[in-house]
């Protein structure tokens, strides 16, 4: 048995105990999350903080892991994910990427102009927010090269894209300039199929799946986001960097 450090009356002990219990009051602050009026605001702040931290954790020069051809998921087992239709019926002959915003040379760019830029092929992991992942082989031009071609202001904060199926997305400039961020027109060394986003899609190994918009039609360099992204506007994280 340990030695007694001091004596206390039972009355005093009750007081001390009560005071110690009351010191735990900060725990009750978590109850704010249970109040319907406050809940959405608090969760939005929490998600915003995670996005802020994500942007700080992102290293512009750090490459996502690349894989050997032997590790590729077979093309037919690469999931086709769309929010609406698998094929919005893009007429390839009329297709252009319309570029606007903080660029020196706005206007319509053809697929040939994108394909004239150096082509990069990479085997990278595609991670869906749902939790599944596949390794695919993608080919295309670096978005950074394209942004240089159109004379984009690299000090601008965002890139936004619109798609033929009315999907829309936005990207932070640091990710847009990342060397693995592609304007993708090839999968498994074949021209991009319609279900996978032909003729042109984003392929970003440092972002989660829903950021990789398909069937691109418009690209804008901007400092303001009128709307963030199809899924983000329903509550998904904006940055969601890998």
């Amino acid at each position: 048995m340990s030695k007694i450090d001091r004596r206390m009356t039972d009355k005093k002990f009750s007081q001390v105990s009560r005071r110690e219990l009351l010191k735990l009051a900060p725990v009750l602050a978590l109850g704010a999350f249970a109040i319907p009026k406050l809940q959405q605001g608090l969760l939005k702040k929490g998600l915003g903080f995670s996005d802020w931290a994500s942007a700080r954790l992102f290293r512009p020069g750090h490459l996502a892991t690349t894989f050997d051809n032997a590790e590729l998921t077979p093309f037919e087992k690469f999931p086709i994910n769309g929010y609406d239709v698998d094929d919005p019926g893009v007429i390839f002959e009329n297709w252009n990427l319309t570029v606007s915003g903080a660029v020196k040379k706005p206007g319509d760019y053809s697929l040939a102009q994108v394909q004239a830029l150096p082509r990069y092929r990479q085997n990278t992991r595609h991670v869906c927010i749902e939790g599944w992942d596949v390794i695919g082989r993608f080919g295309g031009a670096r978005l950074a090269d394209f942004l240089q071609l159109v004379g984009a202001d690299p000090a601008a904060r965002f890139i936004t894209v619109n798609c033929a199926d009315d999907y829309y997305e936005s990207l932070d400039m640091a990710t847009a300039l990342h060397p693995q961020t592609l304007l993708c027109y090839e999968m498994y060394e074949q021209p991009l199929s319609r279900e996978h986003g032909a003729p042109l899609r984003l392929q970003i190994p440092t972002k989660v799946g829903y950021k990789q918009a398909k069937y691109l039609t418009d690209l804008k360099v901007t400092n303001v986001l009128d709307r963030v992204g199809y899924w983000e506007d329903q509550g998904y994280s904006w940055f969601y960097g890998m």
């Binding site: 340990s2 004596r7 900060p26 939005k44 903080f49 992102f58 599944w132």
Partner: protein, 233 residues
Amino acid sequence: MSGSVIEIIHEKAKDEEPLVVARAVYEHPYIVRLCHWINTVALFVMAGSGLQIFRAFPSFGAKIPEKDLLHWPKAFAIGGWLGGALQWHLTFMWIYIGTGVLYLAYQIFSGNYRQVLFMPRDIPGVWPMVKHYFFFGPKPPVREAYNPLQKHAYTTAIVLGVLSVLTGLVIWKPAQFSWLGWTMGGFHYARIWHFVIMWAILFFVLGHLVMVILHGWNNFVSMLTGWKKDPEY
């Protein structure tokens, strides 16, 4: 302050001797109690929202063909849908990590870790405790706040907590933490470990609750006020 022992007395009339009614030990410093309860809430939210996230793809194999592992009921999940669950998960993970880091820092710098950390010298005491709990063996003498089996359980729980954060980091940022992911077998395996570790933690919680009920009210109150009345040692 931690570990100090007091004698509780009932004061009588002037010339009478005060009556000793109980003894009490200060077992749980304030930071430990604060972290314990905030982390309890955070763990509950993390598990509930994590299971809702899992519902979006309840499998660990390929997407095509998908073979679902189990259908977790929505009633036992938090967030309503994948996006809602991720909001809870990505908010409370900071509270979960924050209390975890504060707890570990306090334990290390205050020296209070000695009360909890399972050390090699605790090994001989494990088997007698197991015999007592599970095979009706005699009760080994109680000499400190936690017996060797308790220390083992709490140390394991803390290690599991750390691992839940590390596997979670790899799932959240597989590219930035690729080196950490590599130690776990990559993104795909990190997700499996994260899931397994959650169940291990929930298993600990279940055992913890059973033991708290068996050990009675004074033991439970000590995690609220810090003071354990009538300790066995």
